[in-house]
Amino acid sequence: MTGAALRRSLKRKWNGWVALSVTGAVLALLPSLYILLGLFARTTENWQHIQEYMLLDYALQSLLLVLGTVSCTIVVGVSLAWLVAAYDFPLRRFFSFAFVLPLAIPPYIAAYTYGNMLSYTGSIQTFLRNEWGLAPDQRYFDIMSMKGAIFIFTLFLFPYVYLIAKTFMEKQSAAFIENALLLGKNSLHIFWRIVLPLSQAAIAGGASLVAFEVLNDFGVTKHFGIQSFTAAIFKTWFGMYDVDSAIRLAAWLMSLIIGIFVVERLVRRRKKFSSPTNRMTPLRRRKLKGLSKYAVLCFCVAVAALSFFIPVAQLAVWATWTYKEVLNDVFVQLLTNTLLISCISITLLMILAVTVANVIRYSRTSVFSLVMTRLISMGYSIPGAVLSIGVLAVVISLDKELAPLYAWLGFAEGKLVISMSLFMLIFAYIIRFLAVGYNAVEAGFEKTGNRYAEASRLLGMGMTRTFFKVDLPLIKGAVITGFILVFMEIVKELPLTLLLRPYNFETLATKAYQYASDEQIHQASIPSLLIIGVGIVSVYFYHWLGERQAK
């Protein structure tokens, strides 16, 4: 390209939309950049201690947790997906939805619910003692352990694997399976030799989501006292007050996550199987009979009960015990806070998401677009604890830069203005969940295509007017979907809120967590149920959208 042509191209492409997108993407990159720079900073005295006594142990614990959870979720998720996709049995449609519901329950709520239920004074042991006079060995009930954490994570994260695998099996594999049947293979053989290898990429996608969620977790490991990597970061941060070392640990964790990302890509690279024809015949389900029917039914009932109905019922019972004490002015304040911060963050987030999506849609394959989408999605794969350190570091240094301004405005010396305000938390929410909102909007744009916008341009409307008159009405549904999905994420988000909120600012999630960690688990039930309620609405919405797309 010649100089003149380059200038022409820049002039043509540079406008307010692009400027806002680039600014947003750069801001989203800043905290991660800050953390990765931590790898090159000079080490402090603490670091040697951390390296010697903590790092390896904590890394191994985290690894064990991730590997254990990932393998268990694959077993549960894939088998359920296969049963629901390929067989017909009583209540199949109900289970098809019920297996998505666990996503509505954040693992930390599940962790303290199960933790209390299974404790010596919890409902199960009390029942056994009082009704049946049994005094079983406490070891059977020890959920506050590595095994317990894997159990919790598996029950509440398997839907990621289940959903992706089921969609793939229903849509893609019909032709292959029918062929295999015609070649005289039995179901088990088909599952192992055809379905599993074909679904490999889909399963890897779901499993990597599970891995990210486990590494992102803060509540479960904290409540169960597991020495995970995140716990190590907190110990250095709040126990030793050594932010530099905490950043360094965070940087290591981030490198690990980038590693998982790369591995997932490698697994998927040449395994993107899809049928060569566009004609997709849905899989014909086989009716189960006799013993196998009841076995499958039992399995499904057990999973659905453990992963949704039992904990929700238990929380509901606790809620009836405590509602008088919990529902008061403070609770109203809690609700207002949660709604306020969510609405501000989501509005800003969706504006940015829509802007970026509107810029990128015109040149999806260009390098610029690829870089932008990567930057936008990055926040979602960084654990909340890591991101919060990054945001905090960025904001504090910003406050330092602004110190002369504060002095001029007459604030006391050394006052931190931005880092003490809600701004920090909003900024963090936007970075963390930008990908969620963006993906929803992007799907909307992809469905509408560019031709309406192009027609509008040719009828004399500029990009901005086109957006408001044509694009926005057409992608309205997608924007609302994004809004709801981000709302669910923000309402249940724990580590970011806990670490970056201003002093005494409580939301539903932080209050539930606070009750639970103060051994007032029964009181935690009402905020928890509200969080789960929001989750159910979002999950239902998601499911409904998926069904509609399938048609």
């Binding site: 191209s9 394959t365 260009s366 027609a455 341009r457 040719l458 057409l474």
Partner: protein, 213 residues
């Protein structure tokens, strides 16, 4: 000098598979109807997108009535080109009525002029009485007529049509082709029509250009 000129226009997509359009030149007089004929993938739709300003050429220039639309230094945005286009699937805005669709490009006129132009266009395409309908409530042929009215309403200097008959049933096509021919003659508008169907081009166009792959 001709009314409309393309000079040595070259274009390739970013993917690096070589240019789709190479050194293409064309001159047209005002009111002329030119058909561009070629098999799919020969770059004929790309040519229309270049003229409309939806893509930027790597080289060459495009002029209309002596005004430069694009050359290596300048690029006029599609909304300022005065080019009308009828898309292959018409791209009628699904959330707007027939009236609102036609009025869409008339935002620079006063209210009275707008109403007048709307009436003219509806009667030109014989769609009076359909103004309040939504696009999905119209047949394929009616949709095409609305698309035509919408593109023509702002009085573009040139009209581009991308495979205008590809979405119509075969038995309807013949009648609609005749109608379109009459409409174009009536409107006396410079037109480029892109098609893969020789018969389409021969019925409607004054001149036919064959694009080789």
């Amino acid at each position: 000098m001709s009314f409309f000129q393309l000079e040595n226009v070259t274009f390739g997509y970013d993917t690096g598979s070589g240019p789709v359009v190479r050194d293409f030149s064309l001159r047209m007089e005002q009111g002329e109807i030119v058909g561009i004929l070629g098999s799919s993938g020969c770059g004929k739709s790309t040519l229309l997108r270049l003229i409309a300003g939806l893509e930027a050429p790597a080289g060459g220039r495009i002029l209309i009535a002596g005004k430069v639309l694009v050359d290596p230094r300048q690029f006029v945005e599609p909304e300022h080109r005065g080019v009308g286009m009828i898309f292959q699937d018409y791209a009628l805005f699904p959330h707007l009525t027939v009236e609102q669709n036609i009025l869409f490009g008339l935002h620079r006129l006063t209210k009275r002029e707008r109403e007048q132009r709307l009436g003219e266009m509806l009667s030109l395409v014989q769609m009076e009485g359909y103004g309040k309908r939504y696009p999905h409530e119209l047949s394929g042929g009616q949709q095409q007529r609305v698309a035509f009215a919408r593109a023509l309403a702002p009085r573009p200097a040139i009209l581009l049509m991308d495979e205008p008959f590809s979405n119509l049933d075969a038995d309807l096509k013949k009648k609609i082709r005749e109608d379109l021919k009459q409409l174009l003659r009536h409107a006396h508008i410079t037109t480029i029509l892109v098609t893969h169907d020789k018969e389409d081009a021969e019925t409607i166009c004054d001149r036919i250009i064959r694009l080789a792959r």
